[in-house]
Symmetry: C2
Subunit: 346 residues, 2 copies
Amino acid sequence: MRQKIRISDVAKAAGVSAATVSAVVNNPPGSQIRVGAATRQRIWDAVHALGYVPNPVARSLAGGKNHIIGIFTYEPIFPLEYHNFYYPFLIGLEEEAQARGYDLLLFTSATPPGGGRSVYRQGANRLSLADGVIFLGLNENKEELATLVEEGYPIVFIGRRELPRGEISYTAADYVQATAEIYSHLTGLGHRQIAYLHTSITNESKVDRMQGYLRSTAASHAGSGLAWRIDSQVALAERLPQWLAQGVTAFMVEDDDLGMRLLSASDALGLTTPQDFSLAVLGDPLGLREETPAWTTFRIPRRAMGAGAVALLLQLLDNPEGSGPYRQTIVCEFAPGTTTGPAPSR
Amino acid sequence: MRQKIRISDVAKAAGVSAATVSAVVNNPPGSQIRVGAATRQRIWDAVHALGYVPNPVARSLAGGKNHIIGIFTYEPIFPLEYHNFYYPFLIGLEEEAQARGYDLLLFTSATPPGGGRSVYRQGANRLSLADGVIFLGLNENKEELATLVEEGYPIVFIGRRELPRGEISYTAADYVQATAEIYSHLTGLGHRQIAYLHTSITNESKVDRMQGYLRSTAASHAGSGLAWRIDSQVALAERLPQWLAQGVTAFMVEDDDLGMRLLSASDALGLTTPQDFSLAVLGDPLGLREETPAWTTFRIPRRAMGAGAVALLLQLLDNPEGSGPYRQTIVCEFAPGTTTGPAPSR
DNA sequence: AGTCAATGATTAATCGGTTAATCAAAGAGC
DNA sequence: GCTCTTTGATTAACCGATTAATCATTGACT
């Protein structure tokens, strides 16, 4: 069973050595092996006649490339919730991998019985099976990533990530600019006191949103006194009236969870958007909520990020050892909704 | 970069040969190599001290297993539509693969530039990368599958499939019994003339549904004269009144598309379910329709089927060459909805 | 004719394991 | 004391490629 045709079969058929066949098939740059045009032709003929395809495992062992891109996530790749979050990335990854002729290896085995994914399962690094690996997910282990980068392993992260040491390649959404765009949308509607509500700033994407807000306030000389951290125990129904009384007419909130909280507080108070205040959410929903309000928000270009990650990884693979990091930032599409409107007149 | 600790390092540290280390680490049944308890201990100590993990690539080359399960689909694995169809399978696959310590290889490269996936891309069979392969999808190539089975390649299909020659292992939903259950649900509500609407019967799952219907009618001496094939050009708004006039009080339809068609015909005629007639759909929705009526239907156990496929494949892998086929049929959960009710009294 | 370079290909080592064949030493049986 | 078996391990071939080192021809130039 399995594959029968080996490189030696082709070599025999073409009347040359295996090394020659290898050289012709791979056509490696700067090879010691030169092959004449006639021989080259005979080899290709034999390859086609026999239906030869290099054994990727052997090729990989010998240091060659095997056209496999690994995908590593620190959470399940197919989560029950966050379905909408991951799926577009996967679509992009598959499309681009397919276009480039690569297979995708999902490292699902990386979860030890106790839980908690790690590249080094029992000290083992299965990553070497793939030519390179694309990482995604929220709860990454930066130490581990830094080690991989140091070891020169070709990896790309989906989402901006800064490591304690070393620099990693990534594709990221431009949250800074997308957030700024939301801000100008609001100022365009006449809002002058625009508050920024956020949760604990735990990762780069949240930092970027905050950045976008801070730059906007700085640019418009508005001051940044309206950025507030909202923990889960903060009672928004109490704070909202105070904020409005203070003159705030619009809110930018970090995610749809916070958006929902603000909206229900608003409901409880008998307020409506965008009549009483405007509300914009910084990015489309993460989870699968059955019904979402038609937020004013922006679309995270997940599909493009997935495809971009493949492209960057192949760049890394093409270039000499230790090149990079390669980085790509993709703009988010502004998505107007019904939760923002003209600033209420005083 | 990459992995540094080789088996020879461990061998040196433990003062034994590489073969001995291999035998201890893998503990293969019926090995020629016997190792004493003390040596065994020394080897494990060295393994842990050095953090040794076998290189999966080398292991695979040497004929060992590489703990990779392939996934092959004849359509994109991550489709834009039919999103809800594939996803639960993938969840099941991932869960079980993870539990068993396997990685998942998606054969995305199998699509040649012109389109149309095939295992034999340019005559090559990349499948051999994996220990075995799980197939899923609607538009399978049975010739190709039969060839793989003949070659003794370990494969499992998700969904019942019968091949022109050879027998393939599969996990399937029990559509026959699920359909019969729907039928008795309807008879329990007093329906006596239960029609069966279907499209072109192109695959095993549709055959099974039909079977379930035919068996039910036979068992209840109802006759099978009420099974009709509904092509896309059939005007249901014309047929529905005729059927009702004829005494039909309930419909079982093959899928939600057909269900929607019947429902809109009904709407157009000013009829309502379940007052004027009952309607049950044979299986949960395939596509992602934003709003679906609360059908009376059954749930296809997709997650369990995915997990089951992994289990069957590993069985196939464990057992001697040419064993199997292994098959598993999983019951569907009945899901009562609002589209069925007591038979209207004459 | 003799030297040198270019061309065209082969040999052999290597990647990191697995495993059949083999062998040495110790204990059992007579 | 000698053979036989069992235990405990080693050797070496092999999996199917890649690639550095090497070698044999041929033609150009002096």
